[in-house]
């Protein structure tokens, strides 16, 4: 008679995974010197309390408010200009990187040949490189290269976001129904025509939606980059924090929240309208 096994076949794998997780967790905790209790220690609480109590009242003198207004506009402008540049770079590279326009794939039912994959790899590699280096590193480098100010921020956003946009655009082009484009390519139309007539109509909604979402992220990113000298609200926070001017920091944070909220609303409106 067959002895029915009473053991769960998944038990071994689960046990191994648990042990692996623990084996990785322990040195991880050591390396990161994790100690959440620090936040609750008395003298640290006092320090945080002292720091945050300086937040009230937020600075609201006319001169500072004018500075704040200009910094907000600068942040918005950096994000928008950066995205514009990013689009300029992303659109052609995404077209090059996307297998959607591969002539080989059109005649093989969507499967790109070895050559077309090989030729597209460097473009994809470039996009991955551009988006993998954190944008603030680019910002830091550009600040050293072109000096303090919003230019560094614009360039940093342009480079990183072109990578992100390019990669996602290429993926979107590949994920919509390929058959219209394939039919056009097989009938002898040029690649760009095939793209505009075959792929863009179905992909446009998603592309626009993602772009607007990225613009929203770019606003937050430009604040972060301001920290290292790329202008806008971020630079102001950095300056105010160095001077321990809690009230100013509070005002800037409030302006930041307002900006993020507005951007969120605008983004939802645009996505509803255009997509």
């Amino acid at each position: 008679m067959l002895k029915a096994h009473t053991r769960d076949p998944a038990a071994f794998t689960r046990l191994m995974l648990t042990l692996l997780a623990l084996a990785v967790l322990w040195p991880g905790v050591q390396l990161s010197e994790l100690n959440p209790g620090v936040l609750l220690q008395a003298e640290n609480r006092q320090q945080i309390a002292a720091f945050t109590s300086a937040f009230w009242p937020p600075a609201h003198d006319a001169e500072f408010l004018k500075l704040l207004y200009e910094a907000t506009l600068q942040t918005l402008a950096v994000a928008t200009a950066g995205m514009a540049f990013a689009l300029l770079l992303a659109i052609p590279t995404s077209l090059m990187a996307s297998r959607a326009l591969s002539l080989r794939a059109a005649s093989r039912g969507g499967r790109a040949g070895v050559m077309s994959r090989l030729l597209r790899m460097p473009v994809r590699g470039l996009l991955i490189f551009l988006r993998s280096v954190p944008e603030i590193v680019w910002a830091l480098l550009f600040v050293r290269a072109v000096g303090l100010g919003p230019t560094a921020g614009v360039l940093a956003i342009a480079i990183t976001y072109s990578g992100m946009l390019g990669k996602v655009y290429a993926e979107i082009f590949e994920s919509v129904d390929q058959r219209p484009a394939h039919a056009l390519l097989q009938a002898g139309s040029g690649r760009l025509t095939a793209f505009f007539y075959g792929i863009l109509p179905s992909a446009l909604a998603e592309v626009v939606s993602y772009t607007v979402y990225r613009w929203e992220c770019a606003i937050r990113a430009s604040v972060v980059m301001g920290f290292v000298g790329a202008g806008g609200l971020g630079q102001q926070i950095d300056l105010s924090m160095r001077m321990f001017a809690g009230g100013e920091v509070a005002s800037i944070l409030l302006a930041f929240f307002g900006l993020v909220l507005l951007a969120d609303l605008l983004s939802r409106f645009l996505r509803g309208r255009l997509a």
Partner: protein
């Protein structure tokens, strides 16, 4: 009517872009002409010879592991805290708690990681602990909100069936709702981990340890060769985490 409105919106966007450029007065000519490009080229060239000495590599490796630990643990803590806050935020415990939880989650996620890091460095001192806590706090706000939305959209029948046969609330949640929810939670968390590994590099700028701190010091001391090694290490880390996250997604989030 719709078309006209859409056209207006597009025109408004184009106008906004032009306005942005003119406001910034980007002096691209100064950038590229008059030896500007040459200067940037010379600066970039200094990065093409990374310092690969054993001693520096060891320091970079330690920094990389620190950054990896910061991002991983920060995301893990955020998952736990996020799930904890998502339960009231999805309305499981009544209306007043729901509002309070949503408010807390919005506060946690509205404050950018860098600002959190500045606060935690103040509280916990310099080093990776501050970075991990900052990431955990911010990400728990993000994940908590995503988890709450997923929780609200999860089907209620399996958990209700378990309650109907006498099971407790916790058992009903774990046996009924969690199996359906888990792939979505994991997908969001992996996505945030990919984001956090990039942010962890950056938090070092305010003193929260890891590769970021190394990059800041080397750049400030104009040690481009050493900085270049750090940037390569950052790149490798990001690619590694992206690959790992992709692997885990294939394995556990197959929908």
């Amino acid at each position: 009517m719709n078309r006209v409105l859409n056209l207006l919106v597009v025109c408004a966007i184009v106008a906004a872009v032009f306005a942005a450029f003119s406001y910034l007065e980007l002096d691209l000519k100064a950038l590229t002409g008059d030896g500007g490009l040459g200067q940037m080229g010379a600066y970039a060239e200094r990065f093409l010879h990374p310092d690969l000495s054993a001693e520096h590599l060891q320091a970079v490796a330690h920094g990389a592991l620190e950054t990896l630990a910061m991002s991983g643990l920060g995301t893990l803590l955020a998952m736990a805290l996020g799930l904890l806050l998502a339960l009231p935020a999805a309305g499981r415990f009544g209306w007043p708690l729901q509002s309070a939880a949503r408010l807390l989650l919005n506060a946690l996620r509205a404050i950018p990681e860098l600002v959190w890091a500045a606060l935690t460095v103040l509280a916990a001192g310099l080093g990776p602990n501050a970075g991990t806590l900052a990431l955990a706090l911010h990400t728990s706000g993000v994940l908590g909100r995503l988890f709450a939305e997923a929780l609200e959209n999860a089907p209620a029948e399996p958990a209700a069936a378990i309650r109907l046969q006498g099971g407790g609330q916790v058992a009903a949640f774990c046996f009924g709702t969690l199996p359906n929810l888990w792939p979505q939670l994991l997908a969001y968390s992996l996505y945030r981990w990919e984001n956090n590994i990039r942010m962890a590099s950056v938090l070092g700028f305010v003193g929260a340890g890891g590769l970021g701190q190394m990059l800041y010091t080397t750049l400030s001391l104009f040690q481009e060769a050493q900085a270049s090694t750090v940037i390569i290490a950052m790149l490798v880390l990001v690619l590694l985490v992206d690959a790992l996250s992709d692997l885990m997604r294939q394995r556990y989030v197959r929908a």
